[in-house]
């Protein structure tokens, strides 16, 4: 069974083609990483997949539900943590979770058990009744994460889940992701942190300027780039054709800093 399928997706903003004919699949039970430099089109791809943007052409499915035609059904299957943190600032996490649980019509006892455990695991009790606007970046991210996990979704879609998190929380989130797939769930995440992708993802898709330039497991990518035992970082730079640019930049910096 396929958790996510994106087929020949095209999305442009005016004259800028943000996503250009991207096709990939996330299989059930795997962690798929969408990698790419800033502005590559990762978020745009995910937004189309969530039915939040209308693509120019192509189709997106979540567990065989067409997310463009039936976004409500699609969203029921997914826990989504977007890149931006626009939470209801003047609510508290408690009020927010109540809202979400009510919208999703979750059974009370099970949900409370889940929340209780997650709050404890994320060391979040202290902030449970503070207004969201007063929370730190990382605590907002935790709020988002709990919100996304509340309904025990089969698929997690996380856009840059590791930004602004401390070591402990990053570790916990990695564990949550791992536990989620161990229990049969699937994960689609976007990131530019190579170590995370290398250590965590079963397969990655590398996207640059809206085009998917490489896809597969680490060894498949190595074969594609004809680089044995290269790190993902090196492959990434090679595939996105940034290797030389980076070298030039580093040389210039070295000179500037040594003065």
């Amino acid at each position: 069974m396929v958790a996510v399928s994106v087929e020949r997706l095209v999305k442009s903003f005016g004259s800028l083609v943000a996503v250009n004919n991207v096709t990939f699949e996330v299989r059930e039970g795997e962690i798929y990483g969408l990698l790419g430099p800033n502005g590559a089109g990762k978020t745009t791809t995910i937004k189309c997949l969530m039915g939040l943007l209308d693509p120019d052409s192509g189709s997106t499915h979540i567990y065989h539900v067409n997310s463009l035609e039936n976004p409500i059904e699609a969203k029921k299957l997914v826990g989504y943590v977007p890149e931006e943190h626009q939470l209801y600032d003047s609510l508290t996490p408690r009020e927010l979770f109540e809202f979400i649980a009510s919208i999703r019509q979750l059974p009370k006892d099970k949900t409370n058990k889940r929340i209780g455990e997650m709050v404890k695991a994320l060391d979040f009790e202290k902030y449970y009744d503070s207004m969201i606007v007063t929370l730190s970046q990382g605590n907002k991210q935790k709020t988002m994460l709990i919100s996304a996990l509340l309904h025990a979704p089969k698929l997690l879609i996380l856009d840059e889940p590791f930004s602004g998190l401390d070591v402990r929380t990053s570790k916990i989130i990695k564990d949550i992701i791992q536990i989620h797939v161990d229990n049969g769930g699937s994960v689609l995440l976007s990131t530019h942190v190579m170590e995370v992708a290398q250590g965590l993802c079963d397969r990655v898709g590398i996207i640059d300027d809206g085009v998917l330039v490489g896809e597969g497991t680490l060894s498949e990518l190595r074969a594609q780039a004809k680089e044995e035992s290269a790190t993902l970082e090196k492959l990434f730079l090679r595939l996105t054709e940034q290797e030389e640019e980076v070298q030039v930049g580093v040389d210039a910096l070295r000179e500037a800093l040594s003065e």
Partner: protein, 547 residues
């Protein structure tokens, strides 16, 4: 650092403050700022320019109107009291204006990280403190300077140098007092708003404060049409009780007003106590204003080091939560948000605001004889316009929660229903208020009172139509957040759609009235058309939406 440099840096901080304040009030822009930073900062700059121009314009208008009414409209009271009340009145208004127009920016001052920027620069504590004060000064220098120059200058020319001088002192004191209150209130407000205190008292305080504030802000914009009424009202009130003037002359800022009036050539008070008392009290208030001025400086300087603390320290309660039906959850969430932010409280305040506006209109119409149906219809037309604005105000809450909304299986239809449910309450209240007002002023037949009552079902159709129009226009049919402050065009569209939808039954009423002259037939037509529109709204509008 010399003064010019500090002044320039303060300008940057002030801009940042406005920027933060703006973003905070319109979080919808937060997402867009990445895509199009120039456009957003342009719109912020232009909106803050509009704000300054507006304050300047208001102050000029207030000054002109008060002087016009009190100096030269001989139909109201005697010259001496007229002048005294007029002078004082200007000061009261200037106070209210400075206070309310700058409140959003000032609250931003306390929460925004504006002072964080300079505090990482190699500046001494003293320089930082003076920067904070200067930045604050830059934000509301325009209305303050105008207040202390324009009105006193006009008094100087029209009523003599002494009166001008007293007016100047009075205005200086007013500015200082409003500064101090502004700072104090913003601090208090920000702490209260951000405290997630769930006690009933906390909620009541919050709602009361926000309603007072919103009504205040809105009434400032339309005070001009009230000046003659208010001055007349004060004078009439005062004249019916002996000694009121003496009491007034003790009070701030009336002391300054009475003193200025007393020193105007050609003005005499029979009760000599009045000039004496007002003189003494003016001196006292002048001193108090000076103290306030010092305090404001100190409070602002304190900001350079740290803002307001809003964290919560309370006992931890049970973690478990309650679930409800989706529609109830949407409504509850919106109501909670409404009690926690100034902009959102508009929803509650709209009926009150409308009454402030409609009262003089209906009163005016009743002076030419008994009220006809046309009065009721005009009032309802206004109410529909505002009905449109109400629902958009409720839509504003969603600007905050975009990240949550995006992941939730929440249909646009359900969202719109929730917003409509909230808007029905103020709409119904408005119509009941209108009915009440009509009944107070001798309607030609009691049936006139039925017109607003029959309009109540439109409280469902108007928000539904306006909401759908917004979602179509802004989100291509998807439920999106609408922001009135950032997008004034939406307000126009909302008002327009609301008015047009509400016009149908009124037109029906009018046409049948012209054709048959029968109140009963006309009312029946109104009811029928209303019913038709409600049905249309219920069955057709959901088709315009998409998820």
């Amino acid at each position: 650092m010399n003064f010019r440099e500090r002044w320039r840096l303060a300008g940057i901080i002030a801009l940042q403050m406005r920027f933060d304040g703006f973003l905070k009030n319109n979080p919808g822009n937060m997402a867009r700022i990445k895509e199009n930073p120039e456009k957003i900062s342009r719109s912020i700059r232009s909106s803050s320019r509009v704000n300054s121009i507006l304050s300047v314009f208001m102050i000029i208008m207030l000054a002109a109107l008060t002087i016009g009414v009190t100096g030269f409209d001989a139909s109201i009271g005697d010259l001496n009291v007229r002048l005294a009340v007029g002078f004082s009145f200007f000061m009261v208004l200037a106070f209210v204006l400075i206070f309310l127009l700058n409140l959003t920016t000032t609250t931003g001052f306390f929460t925004s990280g504006a002072m964080k920027l300079p505090s990482i620069l190699p500046l001494s504590r003293k320089e930082l403190e003076s920067l904070a004060v200067l930045a604050f000064t830059r934000v509301f220098i325009a209305p303050a300077i105008l207040t202390v120059t324009l009105f006193p200058a006009a008094c100087f020319v029209l009523f003599g140098p002494l009166a001008g001088f007293v007016a100047l002192i009075g205005c200086l004191a007013t500015v200082s007092v409003s500064l101090r209150s502004l700072i104090g209130f913003s601090r208090w407000f920000e702490t209260k708003m951000l405290s997630s205190d769930e006690s009933k008292i906390g909620t009541i305080v919050r709602i009361a404060a926000t309603i007072g504030l919103v009504v205040g802000i809105m009434s400032v914009y339309m005070l001009s049409s009230y000046i003659p009424y208010i001055v007349q009202g004060v004078i009439m009130f005062a004249e019916s009780f002996n000694g009121t003037y003496l009491v007034l002359s003790v009070l701030f800022p009336f002391s300054f007003g009475f003193l200025a009036s007393a020193v105007t050539p050609g003005v005499t008070f029979q009760d000599l106590m009045i000039p004496l008392v007002s003189g003494g009290m003016s001196l006292l208030y002048g001193l108090i204003a000076l103290v306030f001025y010092r305090q404001s400086g100190k409070l602002l300087r304190g900001l350079a080091i740290g803002g307001v603390s809003t964290g919560r320290t309370g006992p931890l309660r049970e973690i478990s939560i309650e679930t409800r039906t989706p529609i109830i959850a949407v409504i509850r969430k919106d109501l909670k948000m409404a009690t926690k932010s100034v902009g959102s409280a508009i929803v509650y305040a709209i009926p009150i605001f409308l009454m402030i506006m409609l009262y003089p209109m209906i009163r005016g119409m009743s002076q030419d004889g008994p009220l006809h149906s046309i009065t009721a219809m005009t009032a309802i037309a206004y109410a529909n316009l505002f009905g449109g604005l109400t629902v958009v105000s409720v839509m504003m809450f969603d600007t905050q929660g975009a990240s949550i909304h995006e992941g939730l299986p929440l249909s646009s239809r359900l969202v719109l229903k929730g917003k409509t449910a909230i808007s029905i309450i103020p709409y119904t209240m408005t119509m009941l208020f209108i009915a009440l007002l009509l009944s107070l002023f001798n309607p030609i037949t009691p049936l006139v009172i039925l017109i607003p009552i029959l309009a109540i079902p439109l409280g469902y159709a108007v928000p539904m139509s306006v909401g759908a129009a917004m979602y179509r226009y802004k989100g291509g049919g998807r439920a999106v957040a609408i922001n009135l402050a950032a997008d004034q065009k939406m307000a126009l569209i909302a008002g327009f759609v609301g008015a047009v939808v509400g016009l149908g039954p009124l037109l029906g009423f009018g046409i049948v009235m012209i054709m048959t002259g029968s109140q009963i037939f006309s009312l029946a037509t109104q009811a029928l058309v209303t019913f038709g529109i409600v049905l249309m709204a219920h069955f057709q509008i959901p088709k315009l939406l998409k998820d």
